[in-house]
Amino acid sequence: MNILLKQNLPRYAWQQQCYLSTSPIVHSWFVKLTNVTQVNTEAAVPKHTRKRNYPLTYEQRQFPKLIGHTKTWNTFNTSNLRDGKRKAEIVSDDLFLRQFIYGTWHSLFVSELIIKRRHNMVILSGLVTRTIHPRRMYFLIGYTEEILSALLKTPVKMEIQTVENKEDVIFTYW
């Protein structure tokens, strides 16, 4: 992936569009079309706090331009490939799934929800803290799987991993 990017960039630079970079703003800054101050207006790049004590997870620290380099996507599906189906539906489904999980698994998820679509199946994964008893966690798993299957009309499966507490996922302070 990296090699591809290096080879491709100079070739397409004159076209003023970047095929592989996910953020058009970075590119425009690169060819000096906009004000430099706009660099920090990019999505998901927080400002430093004054004391540099705001905790970030690995995923939050790897800013969007690093997607595909040091971190992967939060949702995996084939809708954006050529002839992909249900582009809009999958995006709105993902939004809904995230909302649902953050409400149902209240303050339990410490990472982003990763949504993978394989065949007709939706697999939800992520990191969960061990603040509740496994018994209750299995109740939530059963509940989530069943109700989401009924909503999306496709088998939904959860594959979660647990961490001891929220501090375990801190990657850096920002």
């Binding site: 539906e89 061990r130 496994p134 018994r135 209750r136 966690m137 299995y138 109740f139 939530l140 798993i141 059963g142 509940y143 989530t144 799987e145 069943e146 109700i147 299957s149 009924a150 909503l151 999306l152 009309k153 496709t154 959860m158 594959e159 979660i160 991993q161 647990t162």
Partner: protein
């Protein structure tokens, strides 16, 4: 693959090229062929938790109790979701799946409007949604309003009533619950032979009604379904009268009814010979009516034979039945073999000489892939293992059966958790009794804990086994196994296991263990102490005088108090481990050789302060090892204290104890005097033989 390519290449180069090419015939496959062939590659693996559990250390259950708890809570989560779906059905009608999947939709609720004008389509709908009793109500209404209902619909409804005994069929259990159905649902237990048919139920009413209007062809279906239903729910007398009626009216009996008839022969006739005669008669009757028997027929014959326990003709007849099956071109299923095993080994002692079980295994291992063919198939593995271990007592055979179970997807032939538990209990009890550790332990490790969580009896057998073979390497492993399988907790039933295990460790401590082992054992003792603290902390009312503190602080204080109260409550809820003298002395015996003075002394002090309530006294061995430790540490006062205790308990080892302390160079004059007085006052004889300096 490469080799094959090479061959092909070689053959094309040497042989003359073919002049024409024919496409291979297209092989028709079902839509699930790929899934099936993938499934056949899967093997049972003890290294992973079952598919229903998350693969995460926090979420993997190990003990049988935990497994059950977690599986059932997942099921209850699903049920909660189902309830929500049924409560708010309008939110779940978004249909994107093509073809649409009915089980992802809310259960259909019937409108009252639909019953105002009852017609055939409503009836069919109700039957499709398993509302059999409601369907009968609507059918009655149809009759009332003189609405035409086709005969096909009527008879379908009647069949359903017979099959489900005039009740609505039970909802299918979720797969997680299904595994534990034996505990959840008493009704589903097999071999329940009581009569459950509903007298004058809806089925009977409808039978009487339809009988009047039926044409001869319809009568065949009517009578046969009715008799099958009666026999299924064990109403034998009524069934026999109906059959008589059928014979008089020359209505032919069909295969299903014959199968049920043969299956319930043991209820119809009393003595074994009569039962067999009845079966033979029925079969002859089938032959006269030229009805071809199927697998179910033969399984029913074997089932009847099996219910004649210790029938001397049984084995011979069973073999004859098997021969007959072969002649009819029907391959026996696992269910047939399960019955044959029970026929050949009726009691616990009989049948060993026949060598039937090894022969059956020979037969079965030839079959490439087993299939569920009959509802009796689930009994096979349990029966086979039971008989291989109790009657044959043959380890090779037991292992062979187990290997066969683990091959392919044969594990699905164990239908529920209860059977599985018994299967493994039988297997391991035999192996622990007869086999060698090098062979048992790998097998044990391959199934525990992910496939099988042992019960307490099996665990006790394991400890016994480890101690008789004296596998010292396994002692510490055994401790972690006990912890993992949930046997080390404060429940009174598990107390025996803890005691048994500690005695095992001490036995080896008496022989000369290495320092490494002594350290490990002491660690185990410390773990026990950590898990079950000697004296639970007494909660003091430290927050009594918070009245003049600022409001905010008070808030914090009350929070703290609440927390403490909660802790107190949880402490009360958690049953404490009752220490007794026996357990205390065991722990001292483990800790003292490892030079852990503080821990062992605290145990001793605990004993002294709770003497009046503790059940047993400390034993000689523990006191002596504690004394020698005190001697090594030069804790003279403590040593004297221990000697006094020995004196009070009047142990014979007092002499040795006095001698031991006497040799200590650091003894002051006062201590010597003390020692002398103890010797003088002592009633123990051995004390007076020691010469104190």
């Amino acid at each position: 693959m490469l080799l094959r390519l090479f061959h092909r290449y070689a053959s094309t180069s040497t042989a003359a090229r073919p002049t024409h090419f024919t496409f291979p015939q297209r092989i028709e496959r079902s839509p699930t062929t790929v899934l099936e062939s993938l499934n056949s590659c899967v093997q049972t693996d003890g290294g992973n938790p079952a598919y229903m559990f998350m693969d995460d250390p926090f979420l993997i259950p190990t003990s049988a109790y935990e497994k059950r708890q977690l599986a059932l809570s997942k099921a209850s989560g699903k049920k909660a979701a189902r309830w929500i779906i049924d409560r708010y059905p309008y939110a779940f009608f978004y249909d994107v799946a093509v073809p649409s999947i009915p089980s992802y939709f809310p259960t259909y609720t019937f409108d009252e409007k639909e019953f105002i004008e009852p017609d055939e389509s409503t009836l069919y709908k109700l039957m499709n949604w398993n509302k059999v009793t409601k369907a009968h109500e609507v059918y009655k209404k149809c009759l009332e309003y003189k609405i035409d209902v086709s005969d096909a619909c009527k008879y379908a409804l009647f069949d359903l009533l017979c099959i489900y005994n005039s009740e609505n069929p039970l909802d299918a259990l979720l797969p997680e619950e299904d595994w534990y159905r034996r505990e959840l649902n008493e009704k589903n237990q097999s071999n329940l032979m009581s009569r459950t048919w509903k007298e004058n139920g809806l089925a009977e009413q409808m039978f009487e009604e339809l009988k009047l209007s039926a044409t001869p062809e319809q009568k065949v279906r009517l009578y046969n379904s009715f008799v099958s239903g009666l026999l299924k729910y064990n109403h034998i007398e009524k069934a026999m009268t109906i059959i008589e009626e059928m014979k008089q009216a020359t209505i032919p009996i069909d295969l299903t009814t014959y199968n049920y008839l043969i299956r319930s022969a043991s209820l119809i006739k009393e003595s074994y010979d009569q039962r067999w005669q009845f079966v033979v008669d029925t079969l002859k009757e089938m032959k006269e009516n030229s009805i071809q028997p199927n697998l179910r027929t033969f399984n029913s014959v074997l089932y009847t034979l099996r219910r004649c326990s210790v029938y001397e003709q049984g084995p011979k007849l069973a073999l004859a039945v098997l021969n007959e099956m072969r002649q009819c071109g029907i391959e026996p299923s696992l269910g047939s073999w399960a019955h044959v095993i029970m026929i050949f080994y009726p009691g616990d002692q009989i049948g060993f000489e026949t060598q039937m079980l090894p022969q059956i295994m020979d037969e079965l291992e030839k079959v490439p892939q087993l299939e569920w063919k009959d509802s009796d198939d689930g009994e096979f593995f349990f029966n086979a293992m039971f008989k291989a271990t109790t009657n044959c007592r043959d380890i090779d055979l037991a292992k062979r059966i187990h290997r066969f179970l683990m091959a392919g997807s044969n594990t699905r032939f164990i239908p529920d958790g209860f059977r599985e538990q018994l299967y493994y209990t039988n297997l391991f009890r035999l192996l622990f009794r007869v086999d060698m550790p090098e062979k048992v332990m790998p097998l044990w490790e391959s199934v525990v804990p992910n496939v099988y969580s042992p019960s307490m009896n099996v665990m006790e057998d394991l400890i016994e086994f480890v101690s008789t073979w004296n596998i010292q390497d396994y002692y510490v492993r055994l401790w972690s196994d006990l912890l993992m399988l949930g046997f080390i907790d404060s429940r009174q039933t598990n107390r025996r296991i803890l005691d048994r295990y500690l005695t095992l460790l001490i036995q080896t401590n008496q022989g000369k263990p290495s320092t490494e082992q002594i350290k490990q054992y002491a660690n185990i003792a410390r773990q026990i102490l950590k898990r079950f603290p000697l004296e639970p902390e007494e909660v003091e009312q430290r927050f009594g005088s918070t009245t003049d503190a600022p409001a905010q602080q008070q808030q914090e204080m009350t929070d703290g108090q609440q927390e403490q109260q909660q802790q107190q409550q949880s402490n009360q809820l958690r049953p404490k481990l009752q220490y007794d003298g026996h357990l205390l002395s065991n722990l001292i015996c483990l800790l003292a050789p490892a030079d852990d003075w503080e821990a062992s002394w605290s145990l001793y002090e605990h004993y002294l302060s709770n003497r009046s309530t503790l059940i047993n006294a400390l034993n000689e061995q523990s006191l002596m090892s504690l004394l020698s430790l005190a001697n090594r540490k030069n804790a003279i006062d403590s040593a004297l204290d221990i000697i006094e205790t020995i004196n009070e308990l009047q142990y014979e080892c007092l002499g040795d104890a006095l001698d031991l302390l006497n040799r200590n160079g650091n003894l002051t004059n006062r201590s010597r005097q003390h020692l002398m007085t103890i010797q003088k006052k002592s009633k123990v004889e051995s004390a007076h033989h020691v010469k104190l300096v």
